[in-house]
């Protein structure tokens, strides 16, 4: 079953930051986790050459996030077609402009490790203007953990 590899696992920050790693992969117990989703307040923002670093606080922890902005100069994208690279670059810039201090954002991406900590390499950002969105995320994380992830964590995927 490949469901956890292809879907974005809704995890509380405490859960995400506690994921274990093995051979470059992240695990919640026996459950493989590669894509994740969080909702929280952007509490820090730092523009660096080729990337935006920001931190999302969901009330249970702070998750470091990175949006790469170096598509047009990165050797990784050199082999991709220029128009598609430009689209990706513009999308990333748009997402970066959304992640402002104090906003509540829904952030999705791949979980990566950096200097011993887990972080999200962001694939998309959506602003949550409904103040109850944070509560919904908490409840969804709890329900998914109890009814799905804990079972997958024991049995493995």
């Amino acid at each position: 079953m490949d469901v956890t590899r292809r879907s974005h696992a809704k995890l509380l920050a405490l859960d995400l930051l506690s994921l274990s790693t093995s051979r470059g992969c992240f695990y919640r117990g026996e459950m493989l986790v590669s894509r994740v989703e969080t909702v929280g307040v952007v509490v820090s923002r730092s523009v660096k050459p080729g990337k935006l670093l920001f931190v999302v606080d969901d009330g249970t922890g702070c998750i470091p996030c990175v949006i790469w902005l170096n598509h047009e100069t990165s050797p990784y994208y050199a082999k991709h077609s220029l128009p598609s690279v430009r689209v990706k670059a513009q999308l990333s810039r748009d997402f970066a402009s959304l992640a402002q201090l104090g906003v509540v954002a829904r952030v999705r991406g791949e979980v990566k490790g950096y200097k011993g900590s887990n972080e999200i390499t962001v694939s998309d950002v959506v602003l949550e203007t409904d103040p109850n969105a944070q509560l919904l995320h908490w409840v969804e994380c709890v329900q998914l953990a109890r009814n799905c992830y804990n079972k997958l964590s024991k049995n493995g995927v």
């Binding site: 509380l12 920050a13 405490l14 859960d15 506690s18 274990s20 919640r28 117990g29 307040v41 952007v42 509490v43 820090s44 730092s46 670093l53 931190v55 606080d57 969901d58 009330g59 249970t60 922890g61 702070c62 470091p64 201090l101 104090g102 906003v103 509540v104 409904d130 103040p131 109850n132 509560l135 908490w138 409840v139 709890v142 953990a145 109890r146 992830y149 804990n150 964590s153």
Partner: protein
């Protein structure tokens, strides 16, 4: 980036003299209705049920409207008289937040956190 402390979710009624949250420098996330705002000092007062807290909003650039619900994340400063003032680093208006649902969700979250600890350390 330097590590940033997460604002612990706490209700104003929990921020009392004997509360474990009432510590100098504690990072907190508080929610309440704005009942007073001083433009000169940038001090706001928010209330929830019968409890209130002063919030230093000097670092914020948001618009303040008395009567609206606000949520702040910041660090607690304990005055010599034992009262706490939150120095907010971020804040937002949360009009429309269902406070009953908020309390219930908070309770659910707190019940779940020990389960999480167990899931990662069986």
């Amino acid at each position: 980036m330097d590590a940033i402390a997460s604002g612990a979710l706490v209700t104003l009624t929990e921020l009392n003299q004997s509360s474990a949250y009432l510590k100098q420098g504690a990072s907190l996330r508080v929610t309440g209705k704005l009942v007073d705002y001083n433009l000169v000092t940038a001090m706001a007062v928010i209330v929830d049920s019968d409890s209130s807290i002063q919030v230093d909003t000097s670092l914020l650039t948001i618009h303040f409207r008395v009567g609206s619900l606000y949520q702040f994340i910041g660090e607690l400063n304990i005055e010599p008289n034992g009262e706490g003032t939150l120095r907010a680093r971020v804040g937002r208006i949360v009009d429309g937040l269902d406070m009953n649902l908020y309390q219930q969700s908070l309770q659910l979250l707190r019940e779940h956190l020990p389960e999480l600890a167990l899931a990662h350390n069986p």
